[in-house]
């Protein structure tokens, strides 16, 4: 039960992007296509789960004073492994995500979960937390990417399979592909989340 509770809270109630407002930088920056969103989610999920596992395993003998440097070293190592592997085996994806893979190191979701959850909870709960937060991040970046790609290019595609809106693709609203489009889409999503929450509670 606790496993699912820890998993579920990351998706809606404590969604890292839409509720906690963590990890906004990659959500805004690489959300120009669903392929990017998928690559970013996979990378974040891998780093988040591995970091939570390791941090949780060593939580009982990590000295309090150096815990943050220890977490950073672990996270930076994992991110570099992801970065190198992606360059080696998925060069196209690596090219389009560019700088934002190395920047996962400073993604607040990962350090935040290591510090706030994994360093205080059991291995099982930490994995559940990482999965929930990772999927929650994925849901958010997929939503932003979907609207940006649809409105900004008139077509939505994943692995080259997708649909295009005839009227829109001939004359797309390029503003949504540009950086400020990301802020507009994210703002609307945050407002929608708040509206649903208030309506449910009120």
């Amino acid at each position: 039960m606790a496993f699912f509770k820890n998993f579920n809270k990351g998706i809606l109630k404590e969604n890292p992007v839409l509720v906690l407002l963590l990890g906004l930088c990659p959500t805004l920056a690489v959300s120009t296509s669903l392929d990017n969103a998928l690559g970013m989610t996979a990378a974040v999920l891998f780093v988040l789960i591995s970091a939570n596992i390791i941090v949780s395993l060593i939580r009982n003998f990590t000295p309090e004073k150096v815990r943050i440097p220890v977490f950073i070293v672990i996270i930076a190592t994992l991110v570099t492994i992801v970065d190198l592997s992606m360059q080696a085996f998925l060069p196209d994806l690596s090219e389009s995500l560019g700088m934002f893979i190395p920047l996962i190191v400073v993604n607040c979701i990962i350090l935040g979960r290591a510090e706030a959850f994994a360093s205080k909870n059991s291995l099982k709960d930490s994995v559940a937390d990482a999965l929930g937060m990772g999927v929650g991040f994925g849901v958010a970046i997929f939503l932003v990417s979907f609207f940006r790609q649809l409105l900004g290019t008139g077509e939505v595609s994943l692995f080259g399979v997708g649909l295009s809106l005839p009227g829109l693709s001939a004359n797309p609203m390029a503003i949504f592909i540009l950086p400020y489009g990301a802020f507009m889409v994210l703002g609307c999503l945050l407002a929608t989340m708040r509206y649903l929450e208030v309506r449910k509670n009120g």
């Binding site: 120009t32 296509s33 003998f61 990590t62 000295p63 004073k65 150096v66 440097p69 220890v70 070293v73 672990i74 930076a76 190592t77 570099t80 492994i81 190198l84 592997s85 360059q87 080696a88 085996f89 060069p91 090219e95 560019g98 900004g152 290019t153 797309p172 390029a174 592909i177 540009l178």
Partner: protein, 192 residues
């Protein structure tokens, strides 16, 4: 105040962090060893793919280290030259591979084989149109004197909404001809 036990207490965090860093270094070394060759191979095969796209008749190529120019061959005959350059686009550097046909390379006799984009960070949907054939094919078989945007008296039509990207590519290619022409002539006289 006893100093000895507190010294020991102070050392534990230092040792712990040192051990963590050592493990991280080992893990990174192993990953680097495992991926290094794959990454290099990927870069080489990406370049070869681009070269053979520019020169469909290419059967072999060699690389001149001194001038950083690829010599494109078809059954041991040199058919052209290629080199990579970098232009300042709207979103950062645009890396371009330029192909030049083999002629006597005298003035007015420098003809582009074509260009292709190696990497770019332009605005998706606007600047990324420099990747499309409608833009790139304009450079095919173009005389070097005509490498300029049509608004500046050249033969290249800029992309609507992406003038900066278009002129970054055009200017970089045009400038590179001026920079590389001596090297190209030198190479040309050596191979023929």
């Amino acid at each position: 105040m006893s100093k000895k036990p507190s010294m020991k207490k102070e050392l534990i965090p230092v040792l712990f962090l040192t051990i963590v860093v050592c493990i991280a270094v080992i893990a990174l070394t192993l990953t680097n060893d495992a991926t290094n060759k794959q990454i290099e191979d990927g870069k080489v095969s990406a370049t070869v793919a681009l070269l053979s796209e520019l020169f469909p008749e290419m059967t072999d190529y060699s690389y001149d280290d001194a001038t950083a120019i690829y010599i494109i061959k078809q059954n041991s005959d040199v058919i052209g030259y290629s080199y990579s350059i970098s232009g300042n686009g709207y979103g950062g550097a645009i890396d371009i591979l330029v192909g030049v046909q083999k002629t006597d390379l005298s003035d007015g006799n420098i003809i582009l084989q074509g260009i292709s984009i190696i990497s770019q960070k332009e605005t998706p949907g606007l600047g990324t149109k420099i990747l499309e054939d409608t833009f790139l094919t304009q450079f095919q078989d173009l005389n070097s004197d005509d490498i300029a945007l049509s608004q500046n008296g050249g033969q290249i039509d800029a992309i609507t909404g992406a003038t900066i990207s278009s002129s970054a590519v055009t200017d970089a290619v045009s400038q590179s001809i001026a920079d590389k022409i001596e090297d190209l002539r030198q190479l040309n006289s050596e191979v023929s």
